[in-house]
Symmetry: C2
Subunit: 205 residues, 2 copies
DNA sequence: CAAAAGAGAGGGAGCGTTCGTTTTTAAAAA
DNA sequence: TTTTTAAAAACGAACGCTCCCTCTCTTTTG
């Protein structure tokens, strides 16, 4: 009879996940201790273990949360924006605005490393990346059909290169945060604009 | 009087570093134990600790080794090849051939994660990446001066984008090894060719 | 033969996790 | 409303285990 609301339980879970995310981004998965997470969450070990079975369970929950956040992004934009150029612009803006969150970037990098040896995380990440890539690829393919983009290039590969623009900058900025985003983006625009659309190759920037 | 040759000592050190690299690429830095490394190197803990003061010391030594390997690469190519296009081709070939080494790629990813929380590794990596970027930037700048490339774009940013081509593919292939390199490279070539050189924008691939 | 090199059991610390206890909760009883 | 009550939730000391590293002893070396 004395049972707290589901919302309360959910809030506690969130509390742990957020605390874990903070710790993980600062010290990495395997260097943060349960004590670290407990202290950050202001909860005792006993309480934390009511909500998660193990440390690995917390990692996985945190990954799934980040996954849910990111996946719908490209889908939402490509489905509501019909103009190719402005859709790509929006996608770029959405992706690169994630660079403003250093904790999120640090977690992403930590995640890539963890995925190497942890099949559970690896599979989560694989599905996530495959989803994003499939959506983007389909969008580019339609643009090619409409004659807006060079049809000689493999749409899937183009998506992969576009994703690399983003992943690569995350990595480089994680080592040297002084790297400016804007000049980097203008190079991308020049590359995209000059190659994909059959128009004059010089557009300024 | 009973002292083994310096070459012998050096060989033992190498033996440990290589064993560590194997373990690290399979299980990650913090999940491989000293016992793992000892077993892989076929040496006892006592022997290993004659050559390295700590586990962290082994990690750092391994990083420095990889660093030395990679740094001279771009420098060698840009200094000996005067033709811009063929130099870029060679650089691309050199970089992407590193993808053939899955252990090396896994180590790189592990390293990026480790650099987040480990200042010693971070600094190593930062210097390394800055060196490569500086060499590539200087090369591109000269090409711009010669009028071979669009001078409106920031050479340093172009270098960073080019590095992203490589880093991004390492990451994507670490999660999904079935990704093909060749179609990816042909997209890069289209992007580079169409934008940087002032010539007809359509070249096939 | 004496010093260097290697072996490997074990110390000490710290980790993830458990579990007996205490506190809080919300419904039932007064 | 106020009091009671029993289950849920939280606490935190401590367990067992594993890890890094040391230290003594043995083997190898020139």
């Amino acid at each position: 009879m004395p049972k707290v609301t589901d919302a309360y339980l959910e809030a506690r879970k969130q509390q742990v996940i957020e605390a874990a995310a903070t710790c993980f981004s600062q010290r990495g998965f395997h260097q943060t201790t349960m004590q670290d997470i407990c202290k950050q969450a202001e909860l005792s070990p006993g309480a934390v273990y009511r909500y998660f079975e193990s440390k690995e369970d917390i990692i996985a929950a945190m990954v799934d949360e980040r996954r849910r956040e990111g996946v719908g992004l490209v889908e939402a934009i490509t489905s509501r924006t019909e103009d190719t150029l402005s859709a790509l612009d929006e996608i770029a803006k959405a992706f690169f605005s994630r660079l403003e969150d250093p904790q999120g970037c640090a977690l992403d990098i930590e995640l890539w490393a963890e995925a190497q040896a942890n099949p559970r995380i690896r599979e989560s990440l694989r599905v996530d990346m495959a989803d994003v890539n499939a959506t983007l690829t389909e969008f580019l393919r339609r643009a090619q059909e409409r004659g807006e983009m060079n049809p000689a290039l493999d749409a899937k590969s183009i998506s992969q290169v576009m994703e690399s623009f983003f992943y690569g900058l995350i990595l480089q900025r994680s080592v040297d945060p002084s790297i400016e985003v804007w000049p980097y983006v203008s190079v991308i625009k020049a590359m995209m604009g000059g190659t994909f659309w059959q128009q004059r190759s010089q557009e300024g920037e």
